[in-house]
């Protein structure tokens, strides 16, 4: 498996050209206040004649640490090379003969002459802690370190069978493979009726679809059965993680009493809900987690009804009221956040009930192209349609990815077909509901801050 690398990402929509990144770089790298020496250069691009400049008019000249670096291929002295461990294009000052051919090779002005030293200079990402990023006040620069996860995950065993029968572009498959890799082989897995067994976790022809023991409880008794299994393992002295991967229908509707009971008793299990906002496996029926206005096969769009006429139940907030050991919401568009929460949920499940609620867009049921799953998941968060947070009884609720400048919810709704029929009034209803949900969660978060 190839190596993934950390990278400095630039969002031109957020850059106002303040130049603080350049000041920081020149200072750290050259102990200089001359920003022309900075290895990151903010460039005014479009509409340069209009004053004052606006965000979106700035671009970046910065070494891209290319995977297929032209500067390296044209260096006659062997002074440049791609570092296989860090991904950085390393410059060996002692080998460099100052011929400047690398500046011919680079199309991105990523390696250039520093007139003070008479030598080329380029970004080395400050050994993995780039000084420009914390200096950026608008969030236009970010240091993306998600690569670390993929490098680690690549070395863990995938505990599901290779050929699961998920729909094309299924987010749930991605999620369950990642989650079980992290939780590891010493696991007993409960997968109640839904997409997870539907795509093959419980197997075919007498073999399971997992490399760990898996069972198929009823929708109604998942948490109860799993709690019993866990207690039996504890009784015989074996340390095993008891994990459920359940759909929102199973968890929030008929399965809710056993879930609530297990949470109330503090059973030491890890309950992960894959929330695709409906009974997608059986033909896309509505659940209590289906949002207002959404088309499903049981909330059709026609002469009399225009999608679901009730709002969704906020299941993770209900779980907080059980004072579980750990409750969190997550999204596959934010994998570092998801992995962080998986780690905490796993640890909490050794002490008590851990609940992880993952929003999981459904290409088939929500009606969008199979390549766009992560994009839809990201828009849900960016519009505050869903919020990412975590809760423990000790420290209360905290947002983990607060979105202070949200997209209009219409941008999210337009990303899929199940909301295509919405009237402006319905969109307004949803926007209001987003605001209300956010106020509600913020209130809880503020209480935590006051402590």
């Amino acid at each position: 498996m190839g190596q993934a690398y950390s990278t400095i990402a630039f969002d031109p929509a957020k850059c106002d050209g303040c130049g603080k990144c350049m000041t920081a770089c020149a200072s750290v790298k050259f102990d200089s206040t001359d920003t022309t020496r900075s290895l990151i250069q903010i460039v005014r691009s479009g509409g340069a004649s209009i004053e004052p400049p606006r965000p979106g008019e700035f671009e970046l000249a910065l070494c891209r640490q290319c995977a297929d670096p032209k500067c390296v291929t044209v260096c006659p002295a062997g002074a440049l090379g791609k570092n296989g461990a860090t991904g950085v294009i390393d410059w060996d000052a002692s080998k460099c003969v100052d011929c400047l051919l690398c500046t011919i090779g680079c199309s991105y002005a990523g390696i250039a002459l520093d007139e003070h030293s008479g030598r080329v200079s380029k970004c080395d990402t400050c050994d993995g802690k780039p000084a420009c990023v914390p200096a950026c006040p608008t969030g236009a620069l970010r240091h993306i370190t998600t690569a670390r996860i993929y490098n680690e995950v690549g070395s863990w065993e995938d505990l599901f069978a290779p050929g699961l029968a998920g729909c094309q572009g299924c987010n749930t498959e991605l999620l369950m493979r990642h989650a079980l890799r992290r939780v590891g082989p010493d696991t007993v897995l409960a997968t109640p009726p839904g997409c997870v067994p539907g795509m093959g976790s419980v197997g075919f022809n007498g073999t399971t679809g997992t490399k760990v023991p898996v069972f198929h409880p009823l929708l109604t008794n998942t948490a109860a059965m799993l709690a019993g299994v866990k207690r039996q393992y504890e009784r015989v002295g074996r340390k095993v993680t008891a994990m459920a991967i359940a759909g929102d229908g199973g968890a929030s509707d008929v399965g809710f009493q056993s879930l609530s009971g297990a949470a109330e008793r503090g059973e030491r299990i890890l309950f992960m809900v894959v929330d695709n906002e409906g009974y997608m496996n059986t033909g896309m029926q509505r659940s209590s987690c289906t949002p207002y206005g959404a088309w499903t096969s049981t909330t059709p769009v026609g002469e009399h009804t225009r999608g679901k006429s009730q709002d969704a139940k906020n299941l993770p907030m209900i779980m907080i009221n059980h004072r579980c050991e750990y409750v969190a919401t997550a999204s596959t568009a934010y994998m570092e956040d998801l992995y962080d929460k998986l780690d905490k949920a796993l640890a909490a499940s050794e002490r008590g009930f851990a609940y992880l609620h993952v929003y999981s867009p459904c290409t088939t049921g929500w009606r969008f192209q199979s390549a766009l799953n992560i994009e839809v998941a990201r828009k849900a968060v960016e519009s505050n349609f869903v919020t990412l947070w975590e809760y423990t009884p000790e420290s209360g609720l905290h947002f983990t990815r607060p979105v202070n400048d949200p997209l209009p919810v219409a941008d999210y709704l337009k990303a899929m077909g199940r909301f295509r029929h919405l009237s402006p009034e319905q969109v307004e209803h949803i926007q209001n509901k987003v605001a209300e949900n956010l106020r509600f969660v913020r209130k809880i978060a503020e209480q935590a801050d006051e402590r």
């Binding site: 691009s45 006659p76 002295a77 062997g78 003969v97 051919l101 500046t103 680079c106 991105y108 002005a109």
Partner: protein, 418 residues
């Protein structure tokens, strides 16, 4: 008989890029590299720096043995190509052995031209193309009092500067009217000349050497005007051309180099050529040209490797653009593109004597950049090359571009190739 899927003759930039390109698409096919040179791969471009002592022979290698092991390449140095039988898909080596190939890349580079001056066969002289040449020249340089450099291209000028710095009295003899002709224009060449004169070098441009005689300390040169110049060290650096004797009887078409199409294919099946030995389409002329520069060798090697491996991502060669950088006495000169002003186009020039900054930019009739040349005026050469190759309309930005080529070039880059 040794058999291989890919046979590559040569071991410098074009060959190395071809190996990379082949391995991107074909992880397993057998690759064999044969090279006349006895060393691991290095760049001829680094040799002036070996002569100056800036680099050392053991530090110039571009790849180590691990690279060849990792890429499953059978690397055979000291192993020159002697002949090709394209019909039989066989290559004959200088040691008499034969290799059967499926696909063949000729990346054999070029060798110094030795002009037919009467008496040249009776005097000792240096050339600078191989690592062994560089080592020999560096050793000779230490004891030189009166050195003559024949030819004022970049190799000759580099060596002349090294000789000046080593304390020798240096004379540069050049047939054309100016130094570095073909790389830099008159004004830039004048600046280069002043720098050399200021450091004690003598310059004899516009003169030919008509005779060479062994002298008391080495050789005596006779110029076309009757002057004689003694030399205890003579460097012949009048240019390079490919040595293509191995093509005799192969039927592979050549002019000044091996003729190739836009995927570096020669006139016969399953044989490609790239780098200094190839004659490929010129970006400005549209006709086959020799563009013996390092960046073009990498582009051509990449294309040849992709074509040989059948990589569907292959994009045809955009045509060779002259690209040169030159560092002299602490100053930088950069040339990108063509110096000639196209019909209906114009050249814009500015020169600040105080700072020594010189800039010349050439635009065609449609306000597109075709060439840019600077001394002490830094711009991103790679960005400029893209503006030329993409035939970017500079339109209303032309004046600002000329005033601030660095900033405006980056601005265009950020709009055009995010």
């Amino acid at each position: 008989m040794h058999t291989t899927d890919y046979l590559i003759a040569g071991s410098s930039h074009a060959a190395l890029e071809a190996i990379n390109a082949i391995r991107m698409h074909d992880g397993e096919g057998a690759i064999t590299v044969v090279t006349r040179d006895p060393h691991r791969p290095y760049s001829p471009t680094v040799l002036p720096y070996v002569v100056s002592g800036r680099s050392t022979p053991e530090r110039v290698y571009l790849r180590d043995d691990d690279f060849f092991a990792h890429n499953k390449v059978d690397y055979r140095s000291g192993c020159a190509l002697a002949g090709i039988d394209p019909a039989a898909h066989q290559a004959r080596l200088a040691d008499g052995s034969t290799i059967a190939y499926r696909k063949l890349l000729l990346a054999t580079g070029a060798s110094p031209v030795v002009p037919p001056i009467p008496g040249i066969d009776r005097v000792d002289y240096h050339v600078l193309r191989t690592l062994d040449d560089a080592t020999r020249l560096r050793a000779a340089m230490a004891g030189s009092k009166n050195a003559v450099v024949l030819g004022a291209g970049l190799v000759g000028m580099h060596a002349a500067e090294n000789l000046v710095k080593a304390g020798a009295s240096v004379t540069i003899v050049e047939m054309s009217k100016q130094l570095t002709s073909g790389y830099f224009d008159e004004v830039a060449a004048g600046m280069i000349e002043q720098a050399f004169l200021g450091n004690g070098a003598k310059i004899r441009t516009g003169h030919r050497v008509v005779g060479l005689e062994p002298g008391p300390d080495g050789a005596t040169l006779q110029l076309d005007n009757g002057d004689t110049i003694p030399a205890d060290l003579l460097l012949v650096a009048v240019g390079v051309r490919p040595e293509l004797g191995y093509l005799d009887g192969s039927g592979i078409a050549t002019e000044r180099g091996i003729l190739v199409d836009d995927s570096m294919r020669t006139s016969v099946d399953d044989v490609w050529a790239a780098g200094d030995c190839a004659q490929a389409r010129g970006f400005f002329t549209g006709t086959p040209v020799m563009n013996a520069i390092l960046p073009d060798a990498t582009v051509q090697g990449r294309i040849a490797g992709m074509a040989m491996a059948g990589d569907p991502g292959l994009k045809p060669y955009p045509g060779g653009v002259p690209l040169n950088t030159y560092h002299f006495f602490g100053r930088h000169a950069i040339s990108v593109g063509s110096a000639a002003v196209p019909e209906g186009g114009r050249a814009q020039v500015r020169f600040d004597a105080a700072s020594g900054r010189y800039l010349r930019a050439v635009f065609d009739r449609d306000e597109r950049l075709t060439g840019i040349f600077g001394v002490n005026e830094f711009f991103d050469a790679g960005v400029m090359a893209q503006l030329i190759v993409r035939r970017t309309d500079l339109g209303p930005l032309r004046e600002r571009f000329f005033a601030q080529p660095l900033a405006t070039g980056r601005e265009l880059m950020s709009q055009l190739w995010r």
